[in-house]
Symmetry: D2
Subunit: 138 residues, 4 copies
């Protein structure tokens, strides 16, 4: 659950892909980082922005840290519900937090965060321009 009362939680829903399952019959654990990324992408589209535009403007937001807890699993046929919010928004870094819920109920199956630094196109850590920082302040 979001730590901060002020954080806006945005949700994106899409079906599990067969390619994402593994021989245990469930979604492979590495796919949740891709689901988080998709939650983050949708978050930005929802606020009228787009990570493609971040890169087009000469900035990048590489992941510097992640932590994930796996409490349950998804199978082919299930819907993935990713809830995404911003946990921290500083001049040099942003932290997104996520919950992946089972499409059938509200139980959290996977929770985690990804921390990102702002860099220029050459990968040097930089101070984000206010215009981009405010995008994440809604």
């Amino acid at each position: 659950m979001p730590d901060q009362h002020s954080a806006t939680v945005r949700e994106t829903v899409f079906p599990v892909r067969y390619a994402e399952t593994d021989a245990m019959g469930v979604v492979h654990h590495a796919c949740y980082l891709v689901y988080f990324e998709e939650g983050r992408s949708q978050y930005m589209r929802d606020i009228g922005s787009d990570y493609a535009r971040v890169e087009a403007s000469g900035y990048q937001l590489p992941v510097t840290e992640t932590s994930i807890r796996f409490l349950g699993s998804l199978r082919y046929g299930d819907m993935v519900r990713v809830r995404t919010w911003i946990e921290e928004n500083r001049s040099r870094r942003v932290t997104f937090a996520y919950e992946v819920l089972n499409g059938k109920d509200d139980s959290a199956l996977v929770t985690g965060f990804t921390r990102h630094v702002w860099t220029d196109a050459q990968g040097r850590v930089t101070r984000v321009p206010d215009s981009w920082k405010q995008v994440f302040s809604d």
Copy 2:
């Protein structure tokens, strides 16, 4: 374009994922097989069925052949539009055909087909039960 006038073309649309891009800046060619699979999955959901139910009923539809032509490319920020139709529907095999279009216009970027055989849960080729075959005859 569908070869047969009778074929129903179904479309599914979703955003390119960043993880799907490669160092050329475009979607990696192997991802189109996953896009085709997603088109096929959505096709089945659209006709009120689900490949998960095929497997639950003791059958599988493994891919035995594919052929793909790459005419253009997609980038992060683009929408993927997959058009899917059934090219052939026999008692032992099904062939799906696909076009991936650029979300912005109607140009086909990638075209191809996947051929599948009906097998039982042990992977032995089998004759599909009429109930499943008719699902693909709409």
Copy 3:
């Protein structure tokens, strides 16, 4: 670096695959969970075992938690060096730790751990049989 003096560190080396790169030109962050998995797989092969045999004997080792720090990046053309060791080996869980090094020097680019529980084939948490636990005690 391994926390415990007693831990045996095993290394596996393989080339970066083009499919693993993303539009930033570097290996996508989700791939490191797959590299960790490959380090873990090779660790087991090196001690004369195999995770395939764990599953064949009716047990599974799903990931319950992971944490990763990204300090640098790999590109196509680089070799991946994964150093793997066991950080914790209990009757119900095992924790593997990893360092991914640049093939050219000894600098750690990515570090992390994956925690696993022992379950039966139905996914119920179980106490691992001594025979399997001792495999990880070398």
Copy 4:
């Protein structure tokens, strides 16, 4: 099997990764395009070159067409053996052919080809410089 007597067949061997399996218990069909790519990458490394150097010199070799036949499957615990050779080497395009064999015997599980065009860094089709073309003429 290679069509041309003159073609040199090069082989690369690596283990199936757990992440590559799907809920059918076998390697997902899209992974074979990645295996082909790895066969192609190793082919270039074996002849003392590297696709990374192709790109560094301002050229690219995107895939324009592929065709694959799936005759059998691989599981986690199996070794992947990819046999790669050059089927066609022209001034504007190259075609690689592949067989994926079961590590245990010599049976071909998957066969296929990938056709590539030479482009410049902007993706415009170009005539390959002789220096690169000769690399593939061994």
